[in-house]
């Protein structure tokens, strides 16, 4: 059994049910516009539910090594749409979680601490946790990047970045 597909399928089934449920209080179609706001979403909810169900069923009865798995490996990568490929078999957890966690933290803190304080801190921490070990270069790069982005967005493009409690 392919548990990943089963779980994703179940999540999508719940999502489609919730999506459909949200359409129930939409106003009915009018005389001039006979599909109304609920028609297209209902159609999409049904399509998603159908495909999610197929995914669950396919996960319950995984097929054996099919023709495609055995051969045609050379073209297999090309059959995907541009740039969706993801090669790694093993995930490097620490850098990944660091990138996700620090980014959310950064966006959360940028309104409080302001751009000029939070950005170098974020960069120093992320560069270190992604595996770069030279502290001096790290700090120079982080401060330099903060200044470069400030020049580009604030000075050149006139964007108002959050100033935070220290500068306002």
């Amino acid at each position: 059994m392919n548990w990943t597909n089963i779980i994703i399928g179940i999540i999508l089934l719940i999502a489609s049910a919730f999506y459909y449920y949200s359409t129930l209080d939409f106003p009915p179609p009018t005389k001039t516009e006979n599909l109304g706001p609920a028609f297209f979403p209902t159609l999409l909810a049904a399509a998603l539910a159908f495909l999610a169900l197929l995914l669950v069923i396919a996960g319950l009865f995984p097929r054996g090594a099919s023709r495609k798995d055995k051969g045609a490996a050379a073209l297999d990568g090309a059959e995907r749409l541009e740039e969706d490929a993801f090669g790694a078999e093993v995930i490097a957890r620490k850098p990944l979680f660091a990138a996700v966690g620090l980014s959310f933290l950064y966006v959360g803190l940028i309104s409080v601490l302001g751009y000029l304080v939070s950005t170098p801190l974020f960069l120093i921490a992320l560069i270190r946790l992604l595996g770069y070990e030279k502290w001096v270069n790290n700090v120079i790069a982080s401060v330099g990047l903060t200044a470069a982005l400030y020049l580009l967005f604030v000075v050149a493009l006139g964007v108002h970045l959050p100033e935070g409690i220290f500068f306002s």
Binding site: N34, L81, E82, A85, F86, L96
Partner: protein, 501 residues
């Protein structure tokens, strides 16, 4: 027509036009060369900055990135056996062999020359096709647009993802996300759950930055440890005339295949490159050399992936339908300025369309020159430590997304969709199909509902109009044919219908 070209040239050849095109090409070569930073990531990162530019300059710059990236991705494909972007995946096979044989400069030069030929040819085809197609599309009503968008979505979803089922799910979820916001007909809020931020829908630019750029940074972070550097000091001898001439057959094939594949929605440089490689081998006088350092093995995919750039603009400009990530981002840049691509663009703002035509020609010429002169500094930048690069991209994403509307909520959307995109890629779904569906979703629904308004509720408008009917039938065939084929193959091989699923 000539008048329009003069108008386009006056913008593309102005100092600002040349400067932004050149900047785009350099940024594209660099982005393409950085493993992980694909052409569309490089384009998405520039999107927020286009907000303050005139639309024609913005499009020229983005097209320059797209063109440059197609060459840039071959640099790392040849030198470290890692395609900078999937579009050059086929180039690895012979390009890296040539590098091992000490003919690195020859391989890079062939990639550059044949890429320029492919790119320039595809712009000519683009001009020849887009203008009459846009004329034709002027007569399209809502039923035709409904057929066109559904057909486009069907192709995109069935090409995307490892399995067609997951590609279709990605597409449907994209359509669902597109319904968030104000209903275009009644004006009532749908799926906003009381949030005023969502009334205008999920911000497309933020979504693209998240699904393309953020997800890529996360993929790179998850692959930490497998980061490689280019060793400098390789042979820089460029190909001579005899070497270049030996690739002409493969270049011609690659150019034609790339242009055609580029026009098809959903297929792009990756597929074009692989088909061109296979056909180049089949028609070559020396097919046994393929895989052992054949120049034709570099010329075919590299001319093809550059030829894709012009082709991909055909459906975008003529119908307003993006068929690839790059086209989607260019559409995003137009929408930022309150414009919608499509046939009306030719009528109302010919400077944008013809400026892009001329800009793509200068972009290809810039690529030829910059590819020659920029290669050394480019390798220096590619060799900058990966952690610093990835962290800078993340900061650029946050600041850039914030700057679009001065709104922190857009940044949250980009981050959340970045995580979603990462998970989708991890489990073989397709963020690209989702983005394209998010863009087309609005058109699908409004054209469907508008069709039924003008036909007073009769579905006859879909089968009495030949173009609309043909497009809908094509969409159905696209969706049903792979299923029939899979079922037939499985019944033939396994003797059981269950396995066909």
């Amino acid at each position: 027509m000539l008048h329009n070209f003069m108008l386009g040239a006056s913008i593309a050849l102005s100092p600002a036009g040349l400067l932004f095109t050149l900047f785009g090409v350099l940024w594209g070569i660099l982005g393409g060369a950085l493993p992980g930073i694909t052409g569309s990531v490089a384009m998405a990162l520039l999107l927020p900055m286009t907000y303050n530019m005139s639309p024609s300059l913005a499009l020229m710059m983005l097209a320059g990135v797209y063109i440059g990236a197609m060459y840039g991705s071959s640099i790392t494909a040849i030198l470290i056996r890692t395609p900078g972007a999937p579009a050059s995946a086929a180039t690895v096979l012979d390009g890296y062999e040539l590098h091992k044989q000490g003919r690195s400069g020859v391989a890079l030069g062939i990639s550059l020359y044949t890429g320029t030929i492919g790119g320039l040819f595809s712009v000519v085809v683009l001009i020849a096709l887009a203008v009459p197609l846009a004329d034709m599309a002027l007569a399209f009503g809502p039923p035709e647009y409904f057929g066109l968008t559904v057909f486009g979505l069907a192709i995109i979803s069935s090409l995307a993802g490892k399995s067609m089922m997951k590609g279709l799910i990605s597409g449907i979820v994209g359509l669902i996300l597109a319904t968030v916001g104000m209903d275009p007909f009644s004006g009532m809020p749908r799926f906003t759950y009381g949030s005023e931020e969502l009334l205008g829908g999920i911000d497309l630019i933020a979504a693209m930055i998240g699904l393309f750029a953020v997800s890529e940074v996360l993929v790179q972070a998850a692959e930490a440890g497998s980061w490689e550097k280019i060793k400098e000091g390789f042979s820089a001898r460029m190909p001579n005339w005899a070497e270049f001439k030996s690739t002409l057959r493969a270049t011609t094939l690659g150019t034609v295949i790339g242009t055609i594949v580029g026009i098809m929605p959903g297929a792009g440089g990756t597929i074009g490159g692989f088909i061109a490689y296979n056909e180049g081998k089949r028609w070559s006088k020396t097919p046994e050399q393929f895989g052992k350092g054949s120049l034709e093995g570099v010329a075919a995919p590299e001319s093809a992936n550059n030829a894709v750039t012009g082709g991909a603009m055909v459906p975008l400009l003529a119908f307003g339908i993006p068929g690839s990530n790059a086209a989607a981002i260019m559409l995003g840049a137009l929408m930022l300025q309150g414009l919608r691509p499509g046939p009306m663009l030719f009528q109302n703002t010919p400077d944008i369309v013809y400026g892009l035509f001329v800009g793509m020609i200068t972009g290809n010429i810039f690529m030829l020159v910059a590819g020659y002169l920029f290669i050394k500094p480019c390798i220096k930048i590619v060799n900058i430590s990966k952690p610093i690069l990835m962290a800078s991209i993340m900061a650029l994403v946050v600041v850039g997304t914030y700057s679009i509307n001065n709104n922190i909520n857009d940044v949250w959307i980009a981050l959340i969709l970045g995580v979603v995109g990462f998970l989708m890629r991890r489990y073989d779904f397709s963020p690209s199909a989702m983005v394209l569906a998010m863009i087309l979703g609005f058109m699908v629904e409004t054209s469907l509902r508008r069709s039924l308004v003008i036909s007073y509720g009769s579905v006859a408008c879909f089968y009495e109009r030949p173009i609309a009917l043909t497009l809908i039938i094509l969409a159905v065939i696209t969706l049903v044919f792979p299923i029939i084929r899979a079922v037939r193959d499985n019944i033939r091989e396994n003797g059981g219908w269950k396995r066909a699923l």
